[in-house]
Amino acid sequence: MKYIIAVIQPHRLDAVREALAGIGVQGLTVSEVRGFGRQKGQTEIYRGAEYAIQYVPKVKIELAVAASAADAVVEAIGEAARTGRIGDGKVFVLALEGAMRVRTGEMGADAL
């Protein structure tokens, strides 16, 4: 099993969800997060004054999938989230040791 974490531009979330649904992903978790990468934040201008926005709003997607599906999921997220501009985000893949479906108590891959 793999645990995939993607940090993407908020406005790409719907496209990513559709792409993942298209390859049979059953569920995911989304949170609104803030952060910075190589872009080092951004600036906004109010009344002529520049404000440094250190942490830029992003969306974090987390999902657990079978190891065999991981590459396809990463690829789908990458394609749907990519605008080609700075700040598109990153996708991380982690080994997942265990899982349980709370309602039934199923363990491991059956729980996904």
Partner: protein, 405 residues
């Protein structure tokens, strides 16, 4: 004799001007600070409004509008004693109670304007003490000089609705307070951006609408003068808003909403002293000049001089009021569509009188405000601790959060 129509309009205008402060100005300012300081701004405006009301009744009104002293009024109308229920305000056809209320709303908004300079870092006790002293030592004397029959009124200074009395006094004192108080933590490069620009827009629009009461109400009647005052007020606001939109479009490629509404406020402040004396063509020019110069001044004060007049009280209100007072001498001229200058007075002569008023009010505001600020600093201290400033004033000083999410 009391006239029903005039009275009805002045009661309405009074409500409009109070609405400018509560909640207009409070929201206008509140949207511009960070979320952890929103309530402190609302609370400062609200407290000033309540406090000035009581002080106005106690002695403020009397010292401004009773008696015939050159420098200050007298105490004959303290607590409105000696003002019968059916008394008519001098030179009007409205009840004196209505005049008292109308003028009170001006005395409320003027110290509240200063809040914009010291947001996010001033002690609440210092805000209270400063506002009380400032009302009696700066606002009341200046209002008496110009509107209460004092020495500047004698000289013929034209300030229809408060370019000097309201906007210059507040703007100058604000910047002085910002200097003594010091900049916000992180200023100028690391200050947090406005937390709710939409709130600033809502507040600015309340100010804009309320300003019809401010300027057209200052005619103290419901006739042609009020009609023209409202017309020029609206034209100047819209013109100055367009000026900011154009400047930002050219300069940054992005016309900002905060910029547009700030422009409108600059246009409103600039037309204020002229609003009873000029025509619609002049309002276009006044909006154009007010919008451009105030834009420039925001940049100069904040970025060149690095003075943290946090919400640009001097640049928008003080400068706007001063420009308006000077342009009044020009556009009050009948040849330029105004109501005409006093008999035998030239444009240059009126300009000199306007300048006298401007300089006198400027000097008085600077000197007296400085003394008040130093006094408050010595008695209660001006600034909150660095820790409180970092965490925000709302929870530390008022025990509440603006947003429980």
């Amino acid at each position: 004799m009391i006239d029903a129509g005039n009275t009805a309009w002045l009661i309405t205008a009074t409500a409009l001007v109070l609405f400018m402060t509560l909640p207009g100005l409070a929201l206008f300012y509140g949207g511009l600070v960070r979320a952890e300081n929103l309530l402190s701004v609302l609370m400062q405006c609200f407290t000033i409004a309540s406090m000035v009301t009581v002080l106005w009744l106690l002695a403020g009104y009397s010292l401004t509008f009773a008696g015939s002293g050159a420098w200050i009024g007298d105490l004959s109308k303290v607590l409105l004693l000696g003002v019968p229920r059916d008394a008519v305000a001098a030179n009007t056809t409205i009840p004196e109670t209505v005049f008292f209320m109308f003028q009170m709303t001006f005395a409320i908004i003027t110290p509240a304007l200063i809040v914009g300079a010291f947001v996010e870092r001033m002690r609440f006790g210092a805000v209270v003490l400063f506002s009380v002293l400032w009302l009696f030592l700066v606002y009341v004397p200046v209002a008496h000089w110009i509107w209460g029959g004092g020495w500047l009124a004698e000289r013929g200074v034209l300030d229809f609705a408060g370019g000097l009395v309201v906007h210059l006094t507040a703007g100058v004192s604000a910047v002085l307070l910002a200097i003594v108080l010091g900049a916000r933590m992180g200023f100028p490069h690391d200050v947090r951006p406005p937390h709710a620009p939409w709130m600033t827009m809502v507040g600015a629009c309340m100010l804009w609408v309320g300003w019809f009461g401010f300027n057209a109400g200052s005619a103290l009647s419901a006739g042609a003068d009020a009609g023209m005052a409202m017309t020029v007020t609206h034209i100047s606001a819209a013109t100055a808003a367009l000026v900011w939109i154009v400047i930002e479009s050219v300069k940054y490629g992005k016309p900002s909403m905060v910029g547009a509404v700030t422009g409108a406020i600059a246009g409103l402040a600039t037309i204020t002293p002229a609003s009873g004396y000029v025509g619609p063509g002049a309002a276009l020019v006044i909006g154009l000049v007010g919008g451009s110069v105030c834009y420039l001044m925001v940049t100069i004060i904040k970025h060149r001089l690095e003075i943290d007049d946090a919400l640009d009280v001097l640049a928008v209100h003080g400068i706007g009021g001063a420009i308006g007072v000077m342009l009044t001498a020009v556009f009050a001229d009948a040849a330029l569509g105004g109501i005409g200058l006093a008999e035998g007075r030239t444009m240059g002569g009126q300009a000199l009188i306007q300048l006298t008023g401007l300089v006198a009010v400027l000097i008085w505001s600077v000197v007296v405000s400085f003394i008040i600020i130093k006094f408050v600093q010595a008695v209660v201290g001006l600034r909150v601790s660095a820790e409180i400033e970092e965490q925000g004033l709302d929870l530390n000083i008022h025990g509440e959060r603006g947003y429980n999410m």
